[in-house]
Amino acid sequence: MSELKPKLTANHLIFEDNDPQEELVTLNLGPTHPATHGVFQNVLQIDGERIVSGVSTIGYIHRAFEKIAEHRPYYQITPLTDRLNYCSSPINNMGWHMTVEKLLDIEIPKRVQYMRVIIMELARIADHIICNGILGVDTGAFSGFLYVMQEREFIYEIFEEICGARLTTNIGRIGGFERDFNAIAFDKIKAFVKRYPPILREFEELFNRNRIFIDRTSGVAAVDPETALSYSWSGPLLRATGIDYDVRAHEPYSSYEDFDFDIPVGENGDVYDRYMVRNEEMRQSIRIIAQALEKLENEPKGVFHADVPEFYLPPKEMVYNNMEALIYHFKIVMGEIDPPKKEVYHAVEGANGELGFYLISDGGRSPYRLHFRRPSFINYQMYAPMSSGMLLSDAIINMSSLNVIAGELDA
């Protein structure tokens, strides 16, 4: 057993030297304040309405996924990734599958890759809808939220048609999908691609040139690119500062190189730019989905997984009637597959930024070590330092535009 013991720092006061004479007030923003969009706390020292300093306290829904993952076979880790960024869990699922496929060196058919692209872009839209919708609510405009929230419902219906679940989707398997998209799913995707752009335009008309919205967001929490890079920001937040880093373009995965799309960048890195970048990304996502649907027409029908029987769970009816399928089923479930003793880092462009999976395999049934590079965790650490000097109401807007998802923050 280890001799290594941590220094106990239990329950210290964060602001011990708070002198009431100086009229600074300690305010607990969270853990369950409605404006925090999740379970995390900020202890702020405020002078009137201005924040003097702040300390973020996180970990309220830490569930030790990295430890659990060391004891789960590869295919049982997918449900854990669902619960990272639960607003866009398909991206996490696909990222995890692609990491394992990279480790096992599985070649995925083009049709499956395009189907994955559709799913991931739908998830990105769903995530950005929540972020921008809630940003509207926090600035005092409730109706825009209702316009787009209905569209998120349609996206969830598509997910439901594909995999049966809505929020924690557990979509796909290592090697492809568990079943083909059915005709209803394709119809719903096509209908969504058609109906969403006008709705988005309507949503933007409510905000983009709205005097109140611009006053509340423009110039608030502006971040320059150097600071953003130094804090390892990624995703829409980094792009809003003017740096065009997008994993989809830098290191294309799942055949993103076949698609034609733009990477929107902002100029000032303020809340308004982040809002605009997210809106434009939704439009680009629709563009990608439309292209993917077109490309799917030219791919052989009915292919929904790679031909890797030793890693891809066979369908249940095959298991009952076919000996090979039974053997493979048994081998996969009992962890008799032999992954190479190597390590992989695979990154996907999550809705909040670069979502990385660092997987070390020792050849066993479960990972030796799995680390999630969670964009929310890394983006959020700048929140307290950047809040100093800000008005309390601006800090709320800033938090909502960071789009910190508590599940991803705490893992």
């Binding site: 290594l4 970990g59 390892s232 190597k342 992989v344 990385g356 070390i360 070590r369 680390h371 890394i378």
Partner: protein
């Protein structure tokens, strides 16, 4: 700009640091090098500042525990050159009983929470870190839970034993 190939990158690092860095095998398409805790900050600084490399983006810091190795704690850095679209992985092996390594917060402000997380789960002491406290676990926890000697759940539990498959 085109990707930096591994030979150029490794050659440039060898020229600067000689045999203080070693190449490690077993990574997919990612150059993995090993260095010591005395040179790690200099290696990171060189990677970040050298005009032809420009690894300006710190992707991640984490650790891995290998209880059977002599140097049982590996701190792993992933650094990314956005200009050259190249990633590199740097490992430093430390004594598992006394893991101490200089903090990378002098180079990247964002290393702060990544190092706090690594400290929280593995007990790696980052010297020079401005605020090395636990981050995700409770303050009064007295173990570093991601180290391999701590089991996921109580191994003496019998209600979950599966006698047929030896789990």
């Amino acid at each position: 700009m085109a990707k930096l190939d591994h030979e150029t990158l490794l050659g440039s690092l060898h020229q600067q640091f000689g045999d203080k860095i070693n190449k490690l095998e077993g990574a997919f398409g990612l150059l993995t090098i090993e260095t010591s805790k005395d040179t790690i900050i200099e290696v990171l600084r060189y990677l970040k500042m050298a005009p032809e490399l420009q690894f300006i983006y710190l992707t991640d810091i984490t650790a891995v525990h290998y209880p059977t190795h002599d140097l049982s704690m590996a701190v792993v850095y992933h650094v990314h050159s956005l200009v050259n679209q190249t990633r590199i992985r740097i490992k430093v092996f430390l004594d598992g009983m006394k893991p101490e390594i200089p903090s990378a917060t002098v180079l990247w402000a964002g290393a702060n929470w990544m190092e706090r997380e690594t400290y929280d789960f593995f007990g790696v002491i980052f010297t020079g870190h401005p605020d090395l406290r636990r981050i995700l676990n409770v303050d009064d926890m007295d173990v570093f839970p991601m180290r391999k000697e701590y089991p996921l759940e109580d191994p003496n539990r019998v209600d979950k034993k599966d006698f047929f498959f030896g789990r």
